[in-house]
Amino acid sequence: MSFPWAQHYEPKFAFTRWVDEKLPLPRLVYNAIGGGYPVPRNLNYAWNFGVLAGFCLVLQIVTGVILAMHYAANAGVAFDSVEHIMRDVNWGWMLRYAHANGASAFFVVVYLHIFRGFFYGSYKAPREMVWLLGVTIFLLMMATAFMGYVLPWGQMSFWGAKVITGLFGAIPLVGEPIQTWLLGGFAPDNAALNRFFSLHFLLPFVIAGVIILHIWALHIPGSSNPTGVEVKSESDTVPFHPYYTAKDGFGLGVFLIFYCAFLFFMPNALGHPDNYIPANPLSTPALIVPEWYFWPFYAILRAFTSNFFFVPAKLMGVMAMFAAILVWFFLPWLDRSPVRSGHYRPLFRKFFWFGLIPCVLVLGYCGGSHAEEPYLMLSQIAAAYYFLHFLVIVPIISSFERPEPLPFSITEAVLGSDKKAVLGENTTPAT
C-alpha cells in the first residue's frame, strides 16, 4: 500500500503505545496524511484542492448541522425560519452566509480539483478507481446542493425544484409518475420540502464515506504528480507531513481569504435576488436559473431546442445533460495515451486550453442567461464541442499524438539530474 521507504509510526508515550495496541487509529492517520505517506516532491499548487474540498465538506457539515437546529422544514414557515436565523439567532447570519457561500466555495475547489485531473491525466491507470469514486462524489454533491437550495423555500427554490424534477417528466411513459413520486405530489410542496431536507442532511455523510474510499483508493498507487512519471525512488518523494501539511496550510489560508471576502462583504453576490421572495406557485419568475455551479450543465440542457430523429427536444436535453457528467466515468478508457500529464502532450494541451476551458466558460455564461439569442446559439456550439472533446477528440488524439520527451524521474524533473536512480542504487521494484 505504500513505498518501502515510508516512515513508520512509532508511538513515543506509554499512552499512545497503549492506544496503538487497542485501536491503531493514530497509526491510520499517520499513514494517511502524516509522515507515513510518501508523496511526490514536485506537486504544484493545483494539488491543494483535494484538501480544500475536504475542508469545505467539514465546514458545510458543521454550519449545516447548527443551521438545522434553527430551521423548520415546513412549507408554511421555512422561509420565515431562515429569516429568523438571519435576524434573531446569535451569529445566525454568519452561519447561513457561511453555509450558502460554503457551497459555492466547495464547487469552486472541486471544479479546480476535477480540471486538475483532466489536465494531468490523473484518471489514468493505476488511478481509475480514484477517479470513478471522485465522479461519484461530484454527483452526490450536485444532488445535495440542489436539495439544499430548495430549503429556504424562496421563488428560485420552488421553481428550481419544479424545473429539475420536471426533467424526469421527459422520460417516455414513466416520466410523469416518477416525477410525482419524487415530489410526493404534483408540484413541489411540503412533502417535497421535507424529503429534500431529510436527504440534504443525509447525503453529506454519504459523501464523507465515499471520500474515505476515494482517499483509500488513492493511497494504493500513491498521488500522481505534474510530470505524470510514477515514483521511482525515495528521492522522488517527501513525507506528507510536514511538507504537504505546510503547503496545504498556506493554500488553506489563501482560500479562506477569498472565502471570507465573499462571506463578509458580498454574501449575496453568487445568489439570485428572487430567492428572497417567498415561494409562490402562482407567479413564475422571469428567469429560472439554478446556482452558478450548475450553469454549464443547465446550458447543455437548454441547448437542445429541436427534436432530433423523433427524439423530443426536451428528452434530448435531459439525456445530454446527464451524459455530460456520465462521460467523465469513461474517461480512463477513452483517453488511451500512455502519457499522463498534459505538459508533455502538445495536441491534448491545445485542445484543453483552447477548446475545453473556453467551451465550459461559454456554457457557464449562457446557462446563467436568458434562453434567447445569441446565448442559445453560443451554447449550442459549445455543447457540440463539449461532447466532441471527450468522446471524439480526446480518444483520437490519444492514438496518434507524439508526446514530448518525459523526464527520467521526478527527481530529475525537480533537480536536473537523478544519478542514483540512473545508476540503479536507489531504485526499488514497483510496488
Binding site: L252, G253, F264, V327, A383, Y385, F387, L391, D418
Partner: protein
C-alpha cells in the same frame, strides 16, 4: 469498444445540438426578433451612494430613522414589513422609552383577555409591524389586482437593490412621446403608471411620493421627493439586513487576521521546503 460506442454517442449529441443550432439560426434569419417597448425604454437604476455601501459601510441611523418615518407615514398604507419587530427600532438609536412610545403609536391585532374576542391594542416592542391588509385577496382587491409586496427584504429581493428602489420611487412620469412614436401599440392600462425602471414599464403602484414636504422630518431635513426616496431606500437596506454593519465590522479583522496568518503559513512552508531543495545525489 468503449471508444467506438463513445464515438457514436459523442456524434449523436454533437449533431443533435448542431441541428438545433441550424434550426435556431434559420429562425433568427427568417424572422428576426422584434424589439419591444420594454427592451428599448427600460432603464437601469440611477446611481445612489449610501453609507452602507462597500466593505466599510455602516448605517447612517439618522437617515434610516427618516426612512422609517416615510415608511410609517406613506408606505405602510399598502406594504407590510413582516420580518421586522418594533424592538428592532432600538438599533436605530432610539432609547428604550422611545421604542416603547413608537411601538404604542401602532395599532396591532390583539385578543381581549376577558372575552377572547379579536380586537386591537397599542403595540409593544415585542410586536411585529402590523399588516395593512387581512390577506392577499383584500390586498389585491384594493390595489387594481396587484398584491403590494412585503418590504422587509425588498432591497435584497430586487436586482439593483437600493438604487433600484430609489429610481423606481422617483421614476414616475407621463408616457414619453418617443415611446408612443416608436411603439404606437404601447399602452399604460387604467390603474397602472408609467415607470421606466419597472421591468414592463407599467407598474400598478400609484406614485407614492408626490410632493416635496409630504413628510415633515423630525430632524429638520428638507423633505424633497428625492430625499424621501433616498431615505426610504436606506431604511429598506436596513430592514433587509439589520446585521449588515455588524457583518462588515466582523469581516475586517477576520480578513486582516487571515492575511497575517497566511503570511506566517507561507514563511513556515518556505522554511520546511528549503531542506527538500538540497541535492541529495
Amino acid at each position: 469498444m468503449v471508444r467506438i460506442i463513445g464515438f457514436f454517442v459523442g456524434l449523436f449529441f454533437a449533431v443533435g445540438v448542431l441541428w438545433a443550432f441550424v434550426n435556431g439560426a434559420y429562425t433568427a434569419a427568417t424572422s428576426p426578433a422584434e424589439s419591444t417597448a420594454e427592451s428599448v425604454f427600460h432603464r437601469e437604476p440611477k446611481d445612489l451612494a449610501l453609507q452602507s455601501d462597500g466593505p466599510f459601510g455602516t448605517f447612517n441611523y439618522q437617515q434610516v430613522q427618516r426612512g422609517y418615518q416615510v415608511y410609517k407615514e406613506v408606505c405602510k398604507a399598502c406594504h407590510s414589513l413582516n420580518h421586522v419587530a418594533m424592538r428592532d427600532l432600538a438599533e436605530l438609536g432610539y432609547s428604550e422609552a422611545e421604542v416603547k412610545a413608537e411601538a404604542a403609536s401602532w395599532t396591532v391585532p390583539g385578543v381581549d383577555p376577558n372575552t377572547g374576542e379579536v380586537t386591537t391594542r397599542p403595540g409593544t416592542p415585542t410586536d411585529y409591524f402590523p399588516k395593512p391588509f387581512a390577506n392577499d385577496i383584500a390586498a389585491r382587491a384594493a390595489n387594481s389586482g396587484a398584491v403590494p409586496p412585503d418590504l422587509s427584504l425588498i432591497a435584497k429581493a430586487r436586482e439593483g437593490g437600493a438604487p433600484y428602489i430609489y429610481s423606481l420611487l422617483t421614476g414616475f412620469q407621463p408616457v414619453p412621446a418617443e415611446v408612443k412614436k416608436k411603439f404606437p401599440e404601447f399602452q399604460t392600462p387604467t390603474g397602472t403608471y408609467y415607470n421606466p425602471y419597472f421591468a414592463n414599464l407599467n407598474i400598478k403602484m400609484p406614485p407614492p411620493l408626490t410632493s416635496d414636504g409630504q413628510v415633515t422630518y423630525k430632524d429638520g431635513t428638507a423633505s424633497t421627493v428625492d430625499q424621501m426616496a433616498k431615505d426610504v431606500a436606506a431604511f429598506l437596506v436596513w430592514t433587509a439586513e439589520p446585521t449588515l454593519a455588524k457583518r462588515h465590522q466582523t469581516g475586517l479583522p477576520v480578513i486582516f487576521f487571515l492575511i497575517f496568518a497566511t503570511g506566517l503559513a507561507f514563511l513556515a512552508k518556505k522554511q520546511i521546503w528549503a531542506a527538500a531543495r538540497v541535492r541529495r545525489d
